[in-house]
Amino acid sequence: MSLLAFFYILRHNGIPITAKEWFDLYNLLKEGIIKNLDDLYYKGKTVLVKSEKLYDAYDKAYIEFLNIGKDISNRLEEILKLLDEESKLINRNFKSDETLEEILNKFNERLKNQRVKHIGGGRHIGQKGFSPFGNSGVEREGIRVSGSSLHNRAFFVATERFFKNLREDVFLDGRNIALALKKLRHFQNAGVEDEVNLEETIDATAKNFGEIEIIFKKKKINNIKLLLLIDNGGSMEPYRDKVERLFSIAKHLRYFKDFKYFYFHNCIYNNIYTDTELWKSIPTSKLIRDFDQDWKVIIIGDALMAPYELYNSFQFIYRLEKKGTPGIEWLKILNKHFKNAIWLNPIPKIQWQHQTVKAIMNIFPMFPLTIEGIEEGIKQLIKKN
C-alpha cells in the first residue's frame, strides 16, 4: 500500500495529474504541512486538482483510496515512511546524464499522450505493489516501468494505453475550441492611425537627415464577423452541453469584429429566433437583408427531421405561422447569400445516413462537432470563394 496508489486512482478518475503536481504533494508531506488524512484531502486538493469541475472526481478518488486498504489509521505513518524511501529511490535512480527536469518532461510527455480512460485492472492497486499497471518496459531511460513492486528501482509506474484516445472525447476541452476558433481570422488595417510604424519612421528620419519624422499606421484588427445559427429543437437536447460550450466560447472570445447568433427549431423557416425559448423572432428575410455576404456563418444542428419538415411548406410545429417557403429552400437561399457557411453536426459522422441529413449535406459543407470537425470547418470558412 502506498501513496502512489493515490496517484493512479486520481488519474483513473480522470484527474490529469502529472509528476509536477505529485512532487508538490510530496513536498507538503515532507515539510510536515500535511499531517493527517484531513490535510491530505484538503491540501492535496489544492495542489492536485486544477479545476472545480474535477472536485467531484477528486472526492470519489479520495474515497476509493481510503477504501483500498483496511487499516486507515496507520496509513499516514506508512505513507510518510514510503515517501522517505521513495525520495531515496529518486536520488539513486536518476544517475544518467539527464537532469530530473528532462526526465520529468519525458514522463509528462508520455502521460499527456495517455489520457486516462480505463485502466483495465486498475482496481487491484495497493494489493501487491503495482503489478496491474503496465509492467511492459516502455522506455529504457529515465523513469522505469517496473513489473514487480514499488520497492524496486522504478519510481513511477507508467500505465499502458488500454484504449486509444478517441478524438470525440478531446472535443470537450474548451481551450481546444477556443484555439480552433482563433484560426478564424482575417486581419485588416482599420481605425485611426495611432500606432507608430517604427521602420518607416526610421526610414523617413534618415532621409530627413536626422530630422525626426514619425510615421503612424493603422492597427490591424480581425475583420471576421461570425454568425451562429443554432438548432434548439428537442432532438438537440443530448448535445446541449457541447453546443453551449462552443457558443459561450465564441461569445467570450472577443476576437471577432462582430458576433451574432440566432436560434431555430429543426429547420430554418420564415422566422428565426433571438432567444432560446423561441418567443422573439425576426423574419429570415430580414436576416438576409441585414447581414451582408461577408458574415461567416456556422449552423449547428443535427439536421434530423421528418422529411416533410424539410420539403413541405410547413411551418414550425408548435406555433401557428403562415405557410411559406419550405425549409430546404430557405437553406438554399442562405447558402447562396453568404459566401462562407458551414454546418456543424453534433451527431457522429458515421450516423449521417438519414435522408434529411444527406439533403442538407448537399447544400452546406457539413462537419462533425468535434475539434477536428471545427478545424476542418474553419478552413472552409476562411476560404476565398
Partner: protein, 278 residues
C-alpha cells in the same frame, strides 16, 4: 534550513472572511512558492483575497489588471524607442543611457521589490488565450531577460502571486501545472451571515435573516442569467438600511429595490413571470 517563507503564515484578516481551506491554500502557495489560481463566481471575494494577504502579512501589494489587449510583455517592460529618438534630436538627455527608456511593468515591479511582494494578476482569462503560456517561463523562474540592457532581472524574493480567473476560458495545462488552485465556493448561509456582519456590524438579526432568506431563494432560480452575488446583496441591504424599509412587509412578491438584486432586464421579466405561477 529555515526558508524565509516559513515566517510567512497567512491567517486571514479582520475585514476579510476566509474559510479554513482557503487559508490553507494560500499558505501552501506561499510555501511552495507557486502562483495560486483562485476561481469562483463573481462576488466571492477573489480579488479581495490578495489585498487581505498583503495587509495581514504587511507586504507591498501590486495589482496587475488584465484587459483583453494585455500582452505578457506588458508585465515585464516597455522600451520607449520613440522617446529616445526624440531625445536624440533635441539632445535633452544622454541617449546612450538606455536604462532611462526602459519602463517596467507590474510583474517586473513585483520581482524588483526589496521586500517580498504580493502580486495580484486580476482576471487572467480576460486576455488573449495565449497569454498564460507567454508567462510560463517568467512565473517559473521569476526572472526575465532584457536584451536592450543585456541584463537579467531576477526576483529578489519570489513574490506571492495570486491569479484570479472567471473560468470563462480554460487555462492551458502547462500553466496549471505550475500553479496551485483553489475554488471559492459560493458562501453558504452561515458564512454569508459572517460576511454581512463584517460589512454591517451590529445589523439587526431580523433584517439579516429576512434578507438572506430572500437572497438564497432568488439564487435558487437556475434560469436566471445572472444570479445575485455577495456584492448585490450588500448593496441591497445598504439600501434597505438607508431607506429604513419596514422588514415585515418584505417578501418575494413584494421586493423593494429589486433592481439592486436582479440587474438584467430579462431576468426581471423571468422573475415576475415565475412569481405569477406560484
Amino acid at each position: 534550513m529555515i526558508k524565509n517563507t516559513d515566517l510567512l503564515y497567512y491567517r486571514g484578516s479582520s475585514n476579510y472572511v476566509a474559510s479554513k481551506e482557503l487559508i490553507d491554500a494560500v499558505n501552501i502557495a506561499i510555501h511552495l512558492e507557486k502562483p495560486l489560481i483562485i476561481r469562483g463566481e463573481p462576488g466571492t471575494g477573489k480579488t479581495m483575497l490578495a489585498k487581505s494577504i498583503a495587509e495581514s502579512l504587511n507586504l507591498p501589494f501590486i495589482v496587475w489588471n488584465i484587459k483583453s489587449t494585455t500582452k505578457a510583455k506588458d508585465g515585464l517592460y516597455f522600451y520607449d524607442t520613440v522617446q529616445r529618438l526624440n531625445d536624440a534630436r533635441f539632445h535633452d538627455r544622454d541617449i546612450s543611457n538606455i536604462r532611462q527608456y526602459i519602463k517596467f511593468g507590474k510583474l517586473a515591479e513585483a520581482f524588483m521589490s526589496e521586500k517580498k511582494a504580493v502580486l495580484l494578476i486580476d482576471e487572467i482569462d480576460k486576455a488573449d488565450i495565449e497569454f498564460p503560456n507567454d508567462l510560463l517561463n517568467e512565473l517559473d523562474e521569476m526572472s526575465f531577460y532584457i536584451p536592450e540592457l543585456n541584463e537579467t532581472i531576477i526576483a529578489k524574493s519570489r513574490p506571492i502571486v495570486i491569479i484570479t480567473s472567471n473560468s470563462e476560458k480554460d487555462l492551458p495545462d502547462a500553466f496549471l501545472r505550475r500553479c496551485v488552485f483553489h475554488y471559492i465556493a459560493f458562501p453558504d448561509y452561515e458564512l454569508m451571515k459572517k460576511i454581512i456582519n463584517v460589512h454591517f456590524p451590529g445589523i439587526h438579526e431580523k433584517l439579516l435573516t429576512k434578507a438572506l432568506d430572500i437572497f438564497y431563494e432568488i439564487r435558487k432560480i437556475d434560469e436566471l442569467r445572472k444570479k445575485p452575488s455577495t456584492s448585490e446583496l450588500i448593496d441591497w441591504i445598504k439600501i434597505l438600511l438607508i431607506s429604513a424599509y419596514d422588514i415585515e412587509n418584505i417578501s418575494l412578491k413584494n421586493l423593494p429595490y429589486i433592481g439592486a438584486l436582479i440587474k438584467k432586464e430579462q431576468d426581471l421579466e423571468l422573475f415576475h413571470r415565475m412569481l405569477r405561477y406560484r
